[in-house]
Assembly symmetry: C2
Homo-oligomer: 717 residues x 2
């Protein structure tokens, strides 16, 4: 699924570089560039200003960021359409065993029945401006690389704090557009009263579950509706019954006629991160080192949790969200490994880079300036690779076992919060501290000693073998399993770290108190802290080197191509266009680009995750399709496939037809298209949306949400 | 894979009924009927007499039965083309650790280097005749059903023995064409000197292994070549260097130009068993009871053996053939369950049967004669179902754990061989005893105590729960796991049943000696024997009932349809025709009907079963395709797909083009087409062959077998 990690989200739209001809493997266009794309020749039937108009209201004003996802206003009264998986935790939070909205779905028949989506916010972009020179002013030639990283980070924080001070109630973010080159400041409004309006049951919204995730053909009704509310004066406000629906500057019209094979589609959304302006040495490191490690370690954890869940249903409930998250990343990394190999991405990258190297060598001046850049970047990744066994272990020790993760975060927080605000890691800054600390306490809900102990045991056995983390030596003894077991048994027996009250208390303490605090995991965290700090310093030095080197790399790449190019995705607003189009994932296999309700019924086995509601199957038997089945298909379209360029963060993005009307809600990519992070491929890059006709049909026929169709201006017969 | 169980194989061709228009779901045509098919209008470019000519030589004279498979003579010198999986054990037998033909492939560069394929025989049909009246003469009206079964079995054996006595050196078989209605006697010659000529390495011949078995798209080079030899006088003879190549009456010409999408193809071969002339109650029983049980029990054994194999490579080697066999059946049954549901086969069958029931009710005379037939057949399957828990357990106790299987077979053999020859179970008759006993001893090669103990333990735990097999009570004690473990520990510690010498000795003993023989498994077999006998008697009674009832059912079905129809497959020679044609296995997925060498390379991961030989990948990189890549494809075709009607036993069948030339070697069906056993489906029934162009290309370019192409009359450039 294509939502992004919250931590990765930074800011909204618009890039900086003027660009000329298209660069084949790039398709996530900043708004400032889309007038150059000649979209009319591709099938756009409205002026490009309808999409983006810096001087007035345009479609982009109907797009919001909601959690890690994208959403669209689809009515003048602040109705928002996004993915079911983006609304998942809001639906879960609103559910009780008696009113299980996750299982049964939820529909507010009237506005007063819409329920608060706790913690859910809607982010609207107010303005943005280039702050590259302000940021880069702190960089001195010949600066020590770690100091360079820290100076840039600090300056960005200063700009953010200053901006927020001048704009009370707003949030500020600075987005790096090109490493070491350009930065944009965004100012956002956050709407805080967001309510759940309509969600189909899980058996529709999650149909196919993990099995179908990253897969085509797809039959998931991955959509939900929220509504944003504001104070009667129109300002952002916390939940109150006195609040009124928000009226967006612009809302998106849905198109009940949908799309057909070959039609132009375009997407507006907030793609999270891509890595296309990186070297072959980077991709090689990811492909050889990080992805196989992730597949191995995540796969092991998934197996562990599934086995524990099979043995005890209570454990199964606790580990379910983690299994879901781990599986998503696991399958994504598996897909990348396959896709990179099949599309020979590394070979192509090396070929391109060979041409760039030849170009550098061909001119003495260029050679003098850039002659060592590629090799130097390569050597940074080589350093990173040499450090991998120890660094991965330290990272996952403080991340995978809950007990140690919570203890370590509390300890690190105490240390960081001693520093001046702008020198802290972002999550410990005053402006983020409330969220960081409440999430930490909340995360303890799903603690399970058996699973946690097994995870830590696995890491300690690895650590004993590696024998390179001095802080662990007292625990590991002579490295025998029995020593490790003795420690685990004692530590998990004695700790109270899984108690929310204790953690809340810990978060108020000073580091020197924690150094003496009588809990085995707090003690271990205090011992590990200096080693983790040293590792982070090393990372910052590598980052500083790369910041300097990639700035040079981008300069010479621009010379080489004789033109500008678009920045990597960085959670800012982008447009990508393409066409409704099938693909051949493998020899002799062709995938049609539109799936049907018949396919939903066909997949139904009665076993999770393929349990279609009986009511839905009955409607299919009766061919009660309303106006949503195109005659040629004779069935309701469910999923659509298209060759746009998307990545994580594009979940919930509206898919538009040539008239700028909404025809689908983007939610995933095909497995092979996980390589989009490194390059777009005409053969394999396909993204997946739920067809608006399925959204409307389910809403109308299955759930009886006539009033919502009316609100969206859709006829129901 | 589409070979059949040896035990199921009975005899060769040609059916009896005259038939008029086509019956939609039947496509396995006896030779006597093919002149009615108007094959010319389907694309046949030669007279139908070229295929089958009762008065002369025709293509069918080039077809043989080889093991459980079909094969074709492809040269005047007795060269036989069949599947790699049909030659598997012959290749394995000929291999040594130093000359591992399975891994590395085998090619005899000259005829004197061709190696004996021990135990392999080639069966050629000499003649056949209808013996229905002779067989059915023993049936008396009102006969007790068990007696009816036994009388028919005995009469068949008498006919066989009598025929063999009159035709020294030949084998006779009687095939039941329609239950309780018609029987044909076949006389066969067996050629006993069969030699391995050429087999590609496993990495080609088994490429894709279990993962791809029953799957499309397919990239398996599932072919091998044998040669049949005879005595200098032309008679069948055991292996001797004095023997000479056999000259078949007719050989099949291979067509290096292959086929294209839409082309007519037809297949000649020995499909094993279908069950189309059975009632809905039969299919319901299979679908609800037998298939799920098979999937559960075989799946459990596969998991067990794979886990044991992972822990110990020596065990992995031992269990490999069993895992292969179990997996083939497991996946076949899984496919049936899916296919029957998707094609709604049971629903269609019930609908057809409803029409038949209405037809019966509509006429008082018909009602009097057939009014209870459907209900009576249903009640036989209801009896079978009631007996299932106990009968399945008894069957698998004497089949799945090797120790008890061997002991039980030895015990049963001793009992049976006390009886007159014609009253024994077929495998214990004198004419079969040598093979039965040598196979039993041979099967001990792969005995593994750990695996065997776990299998028997599982069955004993089930038996304890069921508590319906008195012979087991002393072992099961109070039904606790600890009692069972105690028995297993003692029994496997004490038994010597896994010693071939002991078993050879046992096979010479009388039942009363075995009753006293001091081995825990022989003792258990002797205790179980009366219960198994009683079960077999019950089966024979049900069979006798069905024999009588299906005879009536077929009569009224014929009245209802107003015409004759073809008999179910029964390992006799059949023709099936169709076209090179893709299919849609699922919503939005289309499968092209021709795969390519590029697909072989694409599937290569370097991990078993997807390790393509480097030499093959190099040839693909160099596009060294010889004359075998059609310009439109620009690559060598590897697999072909077509909508003929095949089943187990069609493995190795030649696939012909409209000119009666060989364009492929049939070896499998798609997963959904496992339902062919119960009905052919235009949507799902697709069979799979290795394309002759791949066979020739691998032989020429990869293996340098120029001389074989020359022998087949194929140009090499």
């Amino acid at each position: 699924m294509d939502n992004t990690n919250m931590k990765r989200l930074t800011a909204i739209p618009v890039a900086l570089l003027l660009l000329s001809p298209l660069f084949a493997d790039e398709g996530m266009w900043p708004m400032s560039e889309i007038h150059r794309l000649n979209l009319a020749s591709k099938g756009l039937q409205v002026p490009v200003q309808v999409i983006y108009n810096p001087k007035g209201v345009s479609l982009i004003d109907g797009i919001v960021n909601i959690g890690g996802c994208t959403g669209s206003f689809v009515s003048p009264d602040g109705l928002i359409l996004t993915n079911h998986h983006c609304a998942f935790s809001a639906i879960q939070e609103a559910s009780t065993p008696e009113r299980n909205y996750l299982e049964n779905g939820f529909l507010a028949k009237t506005r007063d029945l819409e329920v608060a989506a706790k913690g859910q916010t809607v982010r609207i972009t107010e303005s943005y401006r280039d702050v590259s020179s302000e940021v880069l002013a702190v960089v001195q030639p010949g600066m020590e690389p770690g100091a360079r990283t820290k100076a840039i980070e600090k300056r960005i924080k200063e700009i953010v704090l200053d901006t927020e001070a001048k704009n009370p109630g707003k949030r500020a973010e600075v987005s790096e557009m090109f490493i070491g080159k350009s930065y944009v400041l965004f100012i956002y409004t956050y709407l805080k009263d967001v309510r759940l309006v309509y969600a189909p049951p899980r058996s529709i919204g999650e149909y196919g579950g993990e099995t179908d995730n990253w897969n085509w053909p797809r039959h998931t009704g991955d959509f939900s509706f929220f509504r944003a509310y504001v104070a009667p004066d129109g300002g952002s406000a916390d939940y109150s019954t006195a609040n009124v629906p928000y009226h967006p500057r612009r809302h998106i019209k849905v198109a009940p006629s949908g799309v057909a094979e070959g039609d132009l589609v375009f997407i507006l959304g907030y793609p999270g991160r891509t890595y296309r302006h990186r070297t072959a040495s980077y991709l090689d490191f990811e492909y050889r080192v990080r992805m196989p490690f992730t597949v191995e370690w995540y796969g092991w954890q998934i197996n562990l949790m599934e086995a524990a869940g099979k043995a005890d249903p209570a454990v199964a409930l606790k580990v379910a969200p983690r299994v879901k998250g781990l599986s998503n990343t696991f399958k994504n990394n598996q897909g990348k490994l396959v896709g990179i190999r099949r599309a020979d991405l590394l070979g192509k990258k090396r070929q391109e880079e060979k041409a760039l190297a030849d170009f550098i060598q061909a001119d003495p001046q260029r050679k003098a300036k850039y002659g060592t850049v590629l090799a130097e970047i390569g050597s940074v990744y080589a350093q990173a690779e040499a450090a991998v066994p120890r660094e991965f272990l330290l990272q996952f020790l403080t991340r995978s076992p809950e007990a140690l993760r919570v203890a370590f975060t509390a300890y690190e927080a105490a240390r960081e919060r001693q520093k001046p605000d702008v020198e802290r890691e972002s999550s410990y800054m005053d402006r983020n501290w409330k969220q960081t600390s409440s999430r930490l306490v909340l995360s303890l809900r799903n603690f399970d000693r058996g699973v946690d102990e097994a995870i830590l045991r696995n890491l300690l056995v690895r650590a004993a073998k590696l024998n390179a983390i001095p802080a662990l030596r007292p625990i590991l003894g002579n490295g025998q399993g029995s020593d490790i077991d003795r420690f685990l048994n004692q530590a998990y027996g004695a700790t109270r770290i899984h108690d929310g009250k204790i953690v809340e208390d810990l978060l108020k303490k000073k580091p020197e108190d924690l150094d003496l605090f009588d809990d085995p995991f707090v003690q271990l965290a205090s011992k590990l802290y200096p080693e983790v700090q040293a590792m982070k310093e090393a990372e910052k030095r590598r980052e500083g080197d790369l910041n300097r080197l990639y700035s040079l790399y981008l300069d010479v790449k621009k010379d080489f191509l004789g033109r500008d190019f678009v920045p990597d995705a960085n959670s800012t607003l982008r447009l990508t266009y393409g066409h409704i189009k099938g693909y051949e994932p493998r020899d002799a296999v062709f995938m049609h680009p539109i799936t049907t309700l018949g396919g939903v019924v066909e997949k139904h086995t009665g076993e999770d995750p393929f349990v279609a509601p009986e009511g839905l199957m009955e409607l299919h038997r009766k061919k009660d399709f309303g106006p949503f089945a195109p005659p040629k298909l004779g069935d309701v379209p469910v999923g659509i496939l298209y060759d746009t360029d998307t990545t994580g963060g594009n979940s919930g993005s509206p898919v538009f037809n040539g008239r700028g009307e909404l025809v689908g809600v983007n939610f995933d990519r095909v497995w092979e298209a996980t390589i989009n992070d490194y390059g777009w491929s005409a053969l394999y890059s396909r993204s997946i949306a739920v067809d608006i006709r399925y959204v409307l049909w389910v809403a109308l026929k299955f759930s009886g949400a006539d009033h919502l169709l009316k609100e969206m201006g859709v006829k129901t017969n």
